[in-house]
């Protein structure tokens, strides 16, 4: 049990790092800084968004692989308990999480293509849209994972 709990914690920590990276990039690409303000929000928006691309791809892949591994344990331990407790909404939302995670993973090739250097002006709009989509995917999965973990996760 210690092994799986450790994996779950590492999965969660990677997800936090990914969440930070993709949020930074999405904000920077949607609301680029046009004045030299030194406020916290301005600094948040001022990050060089291209430097996040490989970090996001690697973090997403690593988080996904760990999640897919932990899923094997979840399937015959936590999920059975959730079904016995008739927590069908929790089970359902976790089913949705697996689909969202897959869809996020397969958006990565297009995301990589649109962010390839030198940045193509042809892909400027698609780059912003796909980044926002990926950010929404990561946020959704993070929140769902948190909710499910609260229902039947760490220490239960």
């Amino acid at each position: 049990m210690v092994f799986w709990t450790t994996l779950l914690i590492i999965h969660g920590l990677l997800a936090v790092a990914l969440l930070g990276a993709i949020t930074h990039q999405a904000v920077a690409v949607w609301f680029p800084l046009r004045s030299s303000s030194r406020s916290f929000v301005a600094r948040f928006r001022a990050v060089p968004s291209t430097s996040y691309v490989w970090a996001i791809i690697v973090l997403y892949a690593a988080t996904f692989v760990l999640g897919a591994w932990i899923y094997t344990q979840y399937r015959f331990t936590s999920r059975l308990a959730l079904e016995q407790l008739r927590f069908f909404k929790t089970v359902g939302i976790f089913e949705l999480k697996e689909h969202i995670a897959t869809i996020g993973l397969i958006v990565l090739p297009a995301y990589w293509a649109f962010w390839r250097q030198p940045l193509s002006t042809d892909y400027a709009a698609a780059r912003r849209q796909v980044t926002l989509f990926l950010a929404a995917v990561v946020w959704a999965n993070f929140l769902i994972g948190h909710v499910v973990n609260n229902a039947r996760g760490f220490g239960s």
Binding site: T72, K89, H99, I103, A126
Partner: protein, 173 residues
């Protein structure tokens, strides 16, 4: 606007086709492998649960991976405007099918006479394909070129909507 390299075409086509094939594999239950987590064994193709639950998610992803890779390879060989038009056609067909089938069921439920053919998915699919073919034929090439990279998030979003819809029984029990 055209894709600047074969890699970009491959990546975009892969993303779009994977989303579609994955949704189909999930709904028709077409896993390349079945994993039995309790015993840690893997079976080829679909197998029923034994000694604990069976997991098909990995299998659906693998089936979609093979299908999407094949489609993406074809995408790098075929002329780009063909791919753009094919994707537009597919998206319009899916949208038209959803609208036509919903309308058909709506009319069927409210009709005072028996209209059994309206319940046929094949009829709605045929109408949707014809509508999509006509619309995609008349859409200007510039629109296709402008829209092409955006399908990389629109189609996955559509696939998620379909996958989410099929999970509604979990939320209505």
């Amino acid at each position: 606007m055209t894709a600047t390299s074969k890699a970009a075409i491959f990546a975009t086509t892969f993303t779009i086709s994977y989303a579609v094939i994955y949704a189909i594999c999930t709904e028709l239950n077409l896993p390349l492998v079945t994993y039995h987590p309790v015993v840690g064994e893997v079976d080829f193709w679909w197998k029923p649960a034994r000694t604990g639950p069976a997991m098909y998610w990995y299998g659906w992803m693998l089936t979609a991976l093979i299908g999407a890779s094949a489609v993406a390879l074809i995408g790098t060989i075929a002329p780009e405007n063909w791919i753009q038009r094919a994707i537009l056609f597919g998206c319009l067909a899916a949208l038209a099918y959803a609208i036509v089938y919903t309308l058909a069921l709506f009319v069927y439920e409210r009709a005072t006479i028996e209209l059994e053919p309206l319940r046929s998915r094949w009829l709605s699919l045929t109408v949707a394909v014809v509508v999509a073919a006509v619309l995609s034929w008349f859409v200007p090439a510039q629109w296709n070129e402008r829209l092409w990279p955006a399908w990389a998030w629109i189609v996955p979003l559509g696939a998620l909507a379909v996958l989410g819809y099929y999970l509604t029984p979990y939320f209505t029990r």
